[in-house]
């Protein structure tokens, strides 16, 4: 049992938090139709796209590092296009094709079965058909309204196929683990701003965080997020350290993290009282992000049924 972070891993988490500073402000800017300032997207895509990808495909470090990076971005509320690009790289890694995208120098968006993804300008897209991943050009983009208004979404007009291959290397599970890590971060970010608000907002002459009706809800959310984070780290480790466990571990992580993030974000809205239900305060940014993450590549509801069903039939 040596389930501990190395100092290098802790450094990655710190660096990522620093880069993503101001993420919520950028999310608000996007929501208001302004262009976000100080986006770390370029830096992230340039320097971090290959993190956790197998070395043979041009990558470095491991999935735990990748999870730490994404968790930090989620916590900061970072809205940029790096995350969908990063997911695209890892999806392709399952088909042994990550180097094709990494080598192209272009940005990619991971699109769902409707061709919709969390960006609307990238030159490339990655899509899944059956159990295969496909990298193709994007011939054009149409803007799509998303549940998460602070992350531009688009529907692609697919162009020519560049590469495709069978997902023999847990590409789907890699994507699920990255989403789970982001969900953990989003939930943590929501709890962080809720705790900050509960410490300063006063009613009945005291900061509302004194009242256990407030603090215990946030503690409950924290416990669920910690459980989800442990499952996420375990799944990230399993992808490299125990591949035979990866499918179940990734499902559990994604389901638990999606559920915990949504609960945490709801708790954040409730803690903010009236301000929580406005677009003037930040809780809605986290809440909508949490739902968007849960909906992508395996909803908690469906994954839980799958997990239960697998246990009963094994």
């Amino acid at each position: 049992m040596q389930a501990l972070f190395t100092s290098d891993q802790e450094m990655i988490a710190d660096t990522a938090s620093r880069m993503a500073k101001g993420g919520l402000a950028r999310a608000r800017a996007l929501l208001n139709g302004a262009s976000p300032e100080g986006s770390p997207d370029g830096q992230l895509i340039e320097g971090w796209s290959a993190l956790g990808v197998p070395e043979a495909q041009g990558g470095s470090a491991g999935m735990v590092e990748a999870a730490l990076l994404v968790q930090a971005l989620g916590e900061a509320g970072e809205p940029g296009g790096f995350l969908t690009h990063f997911q695209s790289v890892h999806a392709l890694a399952g088909a042994g094709l990550a180097d094709r995208l990494l080598g192209s120098g272009a940005r990619a968006t991971l699109v769902d079965e409707h061709g919709v993804g969390a960006a609307r300008k990238s030159a490339l897209v990655v899509e899944r058909t059956g159990t295969r991943w496909r990298l193709r050009e994007a011939a054009g983009w149409e803007a799509v309204r998303s549940v998460d208004p602070a992350r531009l979404a688009g529907r692609v007009t697919p162009g020519s196929v560049i590469a495709e291959g069978e997902d023999r290397g847990h590409g789907l599970e890699r994507v699920q683990v990255l989403l789970a890590a982001e969900a953990c971060g989003v939930g943590r970010g929501a709890i962080r701003i809720a705790a900050a608000y509960a410490t300063t907002r006063e009613q009945f002459g005291k900061p509302i965080g004194v009242y256990q009706a407030i603090s215990h809800r946030l503690a409950h959310a924290t416990a669920d997020l910690e459980a989800a984070w442990s499952l996420t780290l375990h799944a990230a480790w399993a992808l490299e350290g125990a591949p035979e466990l990866a499918v179940k571990a990734a499902r559990m992580a994604k389901a638990a993290a999606g559920t915990a993030a949504i609960y945490a974000c709801e708790a954040c809205v409730q803690t903010h009282g009236g301000m929580g239900i406005t677009r003037e305060a930040d809780p809605h940014l986290y809440l909508k992000r949490a739902f968007a993450i849960d909906a992508a590549w395996g909803r908690a509801a469906a994954l839980n049924r799958e997990i239960g069903s697998a246990l009963l039939s094994s």
Binding site: A219, D224, A227, R305, E306, G308
Partner: protein, 381 residues
């Protein structure tokens, strides 16, 4: 990051497993409580005889000199095999290590060997009818009379008191001081305590109420300085929380396995609602396992475990309560008429599980700890 045993841990686990398989061959839990206690006494003696009592104790005190992780691995393997609870679990896990920290050389020599052998069984005289979550509000009075303390008061929820010879007892010695600063810890004989078993919600009587009237305890049996009993109590509580993570996980896994068996047997493996609920509960149980490994890894590296340790107790209590409730409400446990009667494993386990969110720090106390220490929220009291 590695969630597997190190080669050294794996070797220790194999050694423990082999011994347990042998020692438990043909063992079955007795059906009545008294006989189960006898099994616990015999098990303590067996552990001691073969050198498995006090795995984390220093060799100088008769232990194996290994760490908490090894202790946890042994307990994990023992619980997996449904081994009996050793009678002196409080002595070995809590009292002994606390005496090692706060005791005099005399006390160490006098008590530690008899704890490991089970010759002297210990109980923990902490909670009182008026001092539960607010432990420092305890009122059992100890007054100094020459070389002795005269003790009067009541203690409650004392596990094993009816089988114990000794009690680690928190007393109020300075009622005028702030509540944390007027407590003294005594190592008392239970001989003169009046001990009444408390019948629990499921019919078992694990706990006792102790009435202490004019009981004399020599000052030589004081653990720590006068009015400095709170740090001693904190030491005990820290030991109570450190080693449990992996054992809790196994308990939850056993209840989950039973649920899986019950659903299969009922022919409802295709019920999508049941599948969804099972999937969620299984993930929570798995989270206890992987969080437990993270906690033990931190302890082994002499680091303070992170926020994951505060989550474990809350989720453990909740998931066992949820699993047992689901089994009963879905009719997997037999008839609801079973509730309150003996004979149904599920109703017994459900009723016992109501205590999980109360014993060892209530859910409310755990949440306040998270709110204050993890989230930095202002204290509510």
């Amino acid at each position: 990051m590695d969630f597997r045993d190190t080669p050294e841990q794996a070797a220790f686990r194999a050694e423990a497993a082999a011994w347990l398989d042998e020692a438990l061959r043909g063992f079955a839990h007795a059906s009545d409580g008294k006989a189960r206690e006898e099994q616990s006494i015999a098990w303590q003696a067996r552990l001691h005889r073969d050198g498995w009592a006090g795995i984390a104790w220093p060799e100088a005190y008769g232990g194996r000199g290994l760490g908490h992780v090894h202790d946890a691995i042994f307990n994990e393997e023992a619980v997996k095999r449904d081994a009996p609870m050793p009678i002196n679990v409080i002595g070995v896990n809590l009292v002994g290590p606390t005496i090692m920290v706060h005791g005099t050389d005399e006390q160490k020599k006098r008590y530690l060997p008899r704890i490991l052998s089970g010759e002297e069984v210990w109980c923990q005289g902490f909670s009182e009818p008026g001092a539960g979550s607010d432990l420092a509000g305890l009122a059992t009075r100890a007054e100094r009379h020459g070389d002795e303390w005269l003790v009067n008061g009541r203690k409650i929820w004392t596990s094993w008191a009816h089988r114990a010879q000794k009690c680690i007892l928190l007393t109020r010695t300075d009622p005028a001081a702030p509540k944390h600063k007027g407590i003294t810890c005594l190592l008392a004989d239970t001989r003169d305590f009046e001990i009444r078993p408390i019948i629990m919600i499921n019919g078992d009587s694990e706990f006792n109420e102790m009435t202490i009237e004019n009981v004399r305890v020599p000052d030589a049996e004081r653990l720590g300085e006068i009015n400095a009993g709170w740090p001693v109590a904190t030491t005990v509580l820290t030991f109570e929380r450190s080693g449990a993570a992996l054992m809790l996980q196994v308990m939850a896994q056993q209840v989950l396995d039973r649920l899986i068996g019950a659903i299969r047997q009922s022919g409802r493996s295709d019920d999508p609602l049941l599948c969804a609920q099972l999937g969620k509960l299984a993930s929570e149980v798995e989270s206890l396992r992987v969080s437990g490994i993270r906690i033990m890894s931190a302890l082994a590296a002499h680091r303070e475990p992170g926020a994951e340790s505060s989550a474990v107790k809350l989720i453990w209590a909740r998931v066992i309560q949820d699993i047992t409730r689901l089994a009963i409400q879905e009719g997997l446990a037999g008839s609801l008429d079973d509730l309150g009667t003996s004979g149904s494993w599920w109703t017994d386990r459900y009723l016992r599980a109501r205590a999980h969110s109360i014993e060892g720090g209530t859910d409310e106390v755990q949440k306040s700890i998270i709110a204050e220490r993890v989230l930095g929220l202002p204290r509510s009291r």
